[in-house]
Symmetry: C2
Subunit: 166 residues, 2 copies
């Protein structure tokens, strides 16, 4: 399995490192993409090198998509390439997961209408306004979409995401 | 399963949060113990509340032990209660894992002699001098003992640790 993780500077450290390491633990290959090729700095300490820019990525090369939170998704949702990747991977029915502010990318990619989902409480109204069926729960699964609210939900988020590949 | 994680202030963030969340993801109960009952602050941002002090813990209540790194183990190895817990859980053949500086507790608890193990390179000589069969590898498994070198080894460390409960 080859998974794409899209993030940027000022992501939440744990929301990048937990799914990244968890996918490696599972034996999956993970590629990290950002707006430019650089060392991505999370809010507090964690860094990871971007393997590619979002412009370079092709949806058909990946079996799944991970969208961490923090301030990164507000930057990424302005990128047409990031939104195209999100929509194409989602529409192909491949497992997509987003946590905290990660669903901002799902909103802007136009994929949440009629879908059960959750997110960070501060953007819940935006998720509802985009047509999602919002639920305040540690993890919400609807088909190929797995969403969670905050870092403390990471264990439940990844438990459900990994199940989609079984 | 009920797992004990022993740490203190100035632990490495990822070395506490990854195994903590990973055990929760696995459906295990985790109790966190420190020298005193408090909110434990990792080096950069992550915090976790100590459920108990090491003095309050009884080895027989746990099915496994996790020893993260950072500067925490240098403080913990001065605690007789922490060393007693480590030795009793180890000697009972229950799965024990340590990463980075975590093996400092294994050294002081006197459990590494003749065991294959790894650790942060800066304390490799100490592990060797304690009689361990040191290996420079992402993860080293010897019976009920799983050790790793640094945060980047977390996926391999936890992959092997989880296997011991299967």
């Amino acid at each position: 399995m080859k998974i794409l993780l899209i993030t940027e500077d000022r992501s939440d450290d744990s929301e990048v490192l937990y799914p990244l390491y968890r996918m490696i633990e599972e034996g999956f290959e993970v590629e990290v993409a950002a707006l430019s090729k650089k060392v991505i700095s999370s809010k507090y300490h964690f860094t990871v090198e971007a393997d590619k820019t979002v412009d370079e990525c092709r949806a058909e090369d990946y079996d799944g998509l991970i969208l961490p939170g923090g301030s990164a998704p507000e930057k990424l949702r302005l990128s047409k390439a990031a939104l195209r990747l999100t929509k194409e991977i989602f529409d192909a029915g491949k497992p997509v997961c987003a946590i905290c502010h990660g669903p901002q990318l799902l909103i802007s990619a136009g994929v949440v209408k009629g879908k059960k989902a959750t997110c960070y409480p501060g953007i819940a109204d935006d998720l509802k306004n985009a047509g999602a069926l919002y639920e305040d729960a540690p993890v919400v699964v609807d088909g190929n979409l797995v969403t969670s609210r905050r870092p403390q939900d990471l264990p439940f988020w990844m438990r459900e995401y990994v199940k989609l590949f079984e």
